[in-house]
């Protein structure tokens, strides 16, 4: 059934209205939207940084060297992201008493 607010009028289990599958669907959609926002943010920022770094004087077209630079730049930006995610995640785990499992980070391969 479509995850619209109308479909939540079906009787449900587990406290509160709405079926479990509706709740799961809502969470999944929220998760997807969050992931999309994250990718969007990564693309926007890395584009800006890599344009700055690789195309100091925008010409009539993007030179091959500039294209290569942008490609490597993106790789390095994602690598930077992964380092940050790892270090930050470890720090949080350390400070919450050492146990807390891995970071809740997303890592880009």
């Amino acid at each position: 059934s479509p995850a619209s607010m109308d479909s939540l009028s079906s009787s449900g289990v587990g406290g509160g209205g709405g079926s479990d599958s509706d709740k799961r669907q809502i969470l999944e959609q929220l998760q997807q939207q969050t992931a999309l926002n994250l990718i969007q943010s990564l693309v926007n920022t890395s584009t800006e940084k890599c344009f700055e770094k690789c195309v100091p004087s925008p010409g009539g077209e993007l030179a091959t060297s500039e294209q290569k630079c942008v490609s490597m730049c993106l790789d390095r930006y994602v690598e930077t992201w992964n380092i940050v995610s790892k270090v930050y995640g470890s720090r949080i785990a350390r400070e919450s008493g050492g146990g807390g499992g891995g970071s809740s980070g997303i890592s880009f391969q």
Binding site: M5, L8, S9, S10, S11, G12, G14, G15, G16, G17, G18, D22, K23, I26, L27, L30, Q31, T34, L38, S41, L42, T45, K49, C50, K53, C54, C69, V70, M72, C73, R76, Y77, E79, T80, W81, I83, V84, S85, V87, Y88, G89, R91, I92, S103, S104, G105, I106
Partner: protein, 99 residues
Amino acid sequence: MSSASSVLRDPTMQRQLLAMKQQQEFQANVAKFTEHCWDRCDVKATAKMEAKTSRCIANCVERYLDASSRLSADLPNLLSRMADSRQQAPPSSAKTIWG
């Protein structure tokens, strides 16, 4: 009763929403640190990242968090000094408060 608000009152739902919110905050901070440390460490658009650069990035994050903790620890003191200054005549310059 069945409505959107009753879905949100479900404790399991609330727990999961909270977990998602925390993850979102984590990711937002990662994005912020990445941008900041990219600039600070002058990361180059090369085929391979230099070891000193990756060290710099790691240090950048750790030191930022140290500074942030430091600031949070000092905050009560700072706030009480601001309250004190309110009982006196208004300071002639910001130096009086921030000393």
